[in-house]
């Protein structure tokens, strides 16, 4: 395995992707909304509720929702007043599944540009004539999406930590974020998620005509994450350390399966539409 060749392809893919507004803009705008705008808006909720003349203490709906949550979750909120519960509920628990969308989206976008986009731009053939092995090419293509996704997620996480604590400081008066569940999420689940997007995109790109085609088909991979969001909102499940550890394990196993299937289809002989 020649790492120089692998990183040359990674460099190429990331440079090419960074020159494409269609790829770059969603990668900037969506994380900004999730990591900067949303925490700021959520921190305003208690004040907005008070402006509307309704005390947060009377928000029976929220209290009802929290009452339906598992006991473990209610224990974690013990000692907080209702304003603080609102903030912790939204910024810590509701945002956790949303956060999973980011690495998936980044990996899928970069992979669509790298796999299907390369075919569309007719740049794949020159790459296939280089002295790289099929495995080096495959790993390089995966790595481009993986590194970009993890980088965006980590930068986003740091931003989110700063924004969440800063925006909620007037209510919380201490650094309440991240908690143990988020740390497991960031260092166990987030690194696994790009594999899901990449694995699906490798399989989709084999049949896709171009970047848009692959991007649209590959975006379906976000659906399971949306189910997690609904599960969390409806109280069917809630993210705690155990759930997140298990979720990470399942995703890593799925990664393994998808990447195994992808590597079997990623052969020079098949890539030129032969």
């Amino acid at each position: 395995m020649n790492t120089r060749k692998i990183f040359a392809i990674v460099r190429k893919d990331l440079k090419v992707a960074s020159q494409n507004k269609g790829v770059l803009l969603p990668l900037i705008i969506v994380p900004l909304i999730f990591f900067v705008v949303l925490p700021w808006l959520v921190s305003l909720v208690p004040s907005l509720v008070n402006i509307a003349g309704v005390s947060a203490n009377n928000l029976n709906d929220i209290q009802g929702l929290i009452n339906r949550m598992p006991t473990g979750f209610q224990l974690e909120l013990a000692g907080y007043d209702n304003n603080q519960i609102l903030i912790v509920f939204f910024l810590v628990y509701m945002m956790a599944p949303f956060f999973l969308i980011i690495p998936l989206m980044v990996a899928s976008t970069i992979a669509a540009d790298s796999f299907a986009g390369e075919k569309e731009r007719k740049t794949l053939e020159a790459l296939l004539y280089t002295p790289t092995t099929d495995r080096e090419l495959f790993i390089a293509k995966l790595l481009s999406g993986w590194l970009a996704a993890i980088a965006v997620a980590l930068v986003g996480f740091v931003l989110y930590v700063v924004m969440a604590n800063a925006a909620a400081w007037s209510q919380m008066r201490h650094i309440f974020f991240p908690n143990a569940m988020w740390l497991v999420l960031i260092f166990w689940v987030v690194p696994a998620l790009p594999g899901l997007g990449l694995g699906v995109m490798v399989l989709v790109s084999a049949r896709a005509q171009g970047f848009q085609d692959a991007y649209q088909l590959g975006s379906l991979v976000v659906l399971p994450v949306l189910l997690l969001v609904f599960g969390q909102v409806s109280g069917v499940m809630y993210f705690n350390v155990g759930v997140v550890l298990l979720m990470g394990l399942v995703i890593w196993l799925l990664d393994g399966l998808l990447i195994y299937l992808g590597s079997r289809s990623f052969q020079r002989n098949r890539l030129l539409g032969a």
Binding site: A8, R11, K12, V16, K122, E125, L127, Y129, P131, L272
Partner: protein
């Protein structure tokens, strides 16, 4: 022919129902400029892909630079350079980035990358545009940059697929000079896929002609013209008052002289059915007291070979 660097034995490649290459056998010698001619879809690009281990053959075997492309693909591709039919450049990157990334991929020593890129960009007159995005380049500039990329690692064997396509005559001349220099001075073997028969005639030591995946002719341009060009233009000069007599004599030789003679610029131009008929035509004219001052066979070229073969094929069909 020198020691073969490419040996192909009964090589075939099928794509579902289509036979892209049908039992191709040939050898290419070291340092040779080998022309690979054929119409679109004749199997030229498929052959280049097979010879570089990019696709697998359906049957047959090949040996390139002593290696089997299917087994030693990466090692082989480190020693070959390929200019693809489309330049296949990353248009969102600069010329310099395109070259530096491929220098890493081809394993050019780190310390040599910068001077090598500089040298190639100067050679191909792109040095002033090095940091511009390729998307703003003309077709000819892209073609030159793609050729520079193929030469980055100083390959022993160079595959060129239509290297002068899209180039203006001056740039095409420059590329042809470079190809000759690479082969004659630096010993690089060149496998030249082209439609340009004039270019092939001028550059190539030997040529192969493909028709629907089958090899239909192989040899030096001179051998092929002797073998395949049966109709030959012959220009002759007779005294002006004897032109009607000469025409009358030649009309009596329908097996040797085809059609009516033309008289552009006062000279007679006749089409002879084969090279061997020239002495007989001349003998008949002399026997009929026609004084012939000059007789010159027009030089046959690959273009005529190509069209003769094509007509034969059409005739068979």
């Amino acid at each position: 022919m020198n020691t073969p660097v490419i040996t192909i034995n009964k090589l075939s490649r099928h794509f579902k129902e289509t036979i892209a290459l049908n039992s191709l056998s040939l050898e290419v010698g070291a340092g040779e400029i080998f022309g690979f001619l054929g119409h679109n879809g004749a199997g030229k690009t498929t052959t280049v892909r097979l010879l570089n281990g990019v696709i697998e053959p359906t049957s047959g075997s090949m040996c390139v630079l002593g290696l089997d492309p299917q087994v030693d693909g990466p090692a082989l591709r480190a020693r070959t350079g390929v200019l693809t039919e489309t330049p296949s450049l990353d248009e969102r990157l600069t010329a310099w980035d395109n070259l530096s990334i491929y220098a890493d991929l081809y394993g050019v020593p780190k310390a040599s990358i910068r001077p090598r890129i500089q040298e190639l960009l100067t050679e191909f007159e792109l040095v002033d545009r090095a940091v511009e995005r390729v998307s703003g380049f003309s077709k000819g500039m892209k073609q030159r940059l793609a050729l520079a990329r193929a030469l980055l690692h100083k390959p022993e064997l160079l595959f060129l697929d239509e290297p002068t396509s899209g180039l203006d005559p001056l740039a095409a001349h420059h590329v042809n000079d470079l190809v000759e220099r690479l082969a004659r001075r630096e010993g690089c073997t060149v496998f030249l896929c082209t439609h340009n028969l004039v270019e092939a005639q001028k550059l190539c030591d030997r040529v192969a002609i493909l028709e629907h995946g089958r090899l239909v002719a192989l040899g030096t341009p001179a051998e092929l013209t002797r073998q395949y060009v049966r109709r030959l233009g012959v220009e002759m000069e007779v005294s002006e008052e004897q032109v009607p007599a000469a025409l009358s004599v030649m009309r009596g030789l329908p097996d040797m002289v085809l059609g009516e003679a033309a008289q552009p610029n006062g000279a007679l131009v006749v089409t002879i059915n084969k090279h061997e008929s020239i002495p007989d035509v001349l003998a008949c004219l002399v026997q009929n007291h026609v004084r012939v001052y000059r007789l010159a066979a027009q030089e046959a070229n690959l273009e005529q070979v190509y069209f003769t073969l094509h007509e034969e094929k059409e005739g068979v069909q």
